[in-house]
Amino acid sequence: MIKLSHRYEQISCRLTVEGFPDVSTGQGSQAIGILTGWSLALAGHTELEGKREHLEALLQVVAPYARHLISGAPRAFGDPISPVAVHPDGSRHRLELRSSQPNTPPMALHLDDAELADLVGCLDQLLLDPRLQLNLQAPTPQPLRRSELRKRVPLGRRIAAPLCGMAALGLAGAVSWMVPIPKPGSFNPTEGKGTSSVAAPGNTSGSGTSAVPGKTATPGKTAAPGPEAPAPAPQAQTSQGTGTRPGSSQTPR
């Protein structure tokens, strides 16, 4: 049986998969159902080779990483023991590959945005190729959660509103704490009795806040009331302590 090889290319990336059709499941002669190996050549970087599990691991981290990147919320994918991991590294992207061979240090590739887009394009082509019948599992793109998107808002802007709220609450609490609490029994209801009532005629000293006694509105000094307006002076004698001039505004019309 002839080994088949399919190639997926972008400008700086070339992904080659090799394998055989799985005749037992009735696959066509051009389909690859049994993967024997794959290689990834990125311009300016070492060529990578691996088996099916490595290709699946690459798909499992690169596809969700691109999904987060397109929303402007990049984050690391792949734990320290997984064969492939990718995480943002400044303006670049660090792709880490760990060999299954013991005592082999992990290999790190620093990709720029263009190289990462090329790699994502190659993996998209691979997943959409109907000739490749490997049933490779790649995460389906989903909308991100609100908590994941919150990270792209700068920390200062995120905590500004809660901080302002807490500061306002603290300030209001401090101000209310400074207001003295009235002692029980200190309130004398008779003190303010005359302040709100109209003084009786001639009783100018009935309230401490009334007009000066000498300047109180006597009936003779107010506007001459006719018989039909008998009581202008008592009305002018309000005890608000504002120095109301009798006759100035109380002239009945």
């Binding site: 945005d113 394009g121 998209d124 997943l127 793109p141 909308p143 919150r150």
Partner: protein, 180 residues
Amino acid sequence: MPDVSPALSRPTRLPRRGLERLDLMLLCAEALDLNGGEAMVWMSEQLGYQSLFPNRVELWKRRCHNPLRRSTRRGQLQVQDTDALIRILSAMAERLYPMLRQLLSAAEPESVSEQRWALFRSRLQELIEERLNLRRVGVRKLLDPNEGPQLSHQLILSLALSAGNGGVERLKASLLDPEP
């Protein structure tokens, strides 16, 4: 009619932010391609969307649902319309991919890269000033000399990652993101 992928078959309407972003990315495609408006109509025909967008006016009317537009249209855009716009955008991104890549590549000489970005930003600014409501905060951010370049870079990167058939679902999922 082109095949409808599982994600696109979900009848989910794009939120307001998604509509804004979709139209901004189409605007970026127009800024990259001087004949972008015509290319969009041609691409729509190629993808089999004549019934949805029989002429460029219909396409423009759908895009005017972007709340950031100077003359925005009320009402919600139908799912089939947004799906068609997403497919057109992905196809245009694939066609413009070499230009997107040039802008994103760190291997290019810095002076050349700066010139390319300056040209792209000036075209985008012209389109924004012509079509979008400049009183909106989102639009002012795009034109801001400090925040604008970063937002433009994010839009170009999103376009590059949504290029081709493989990028359609990724793009739609990102447009369905909730408000942060």
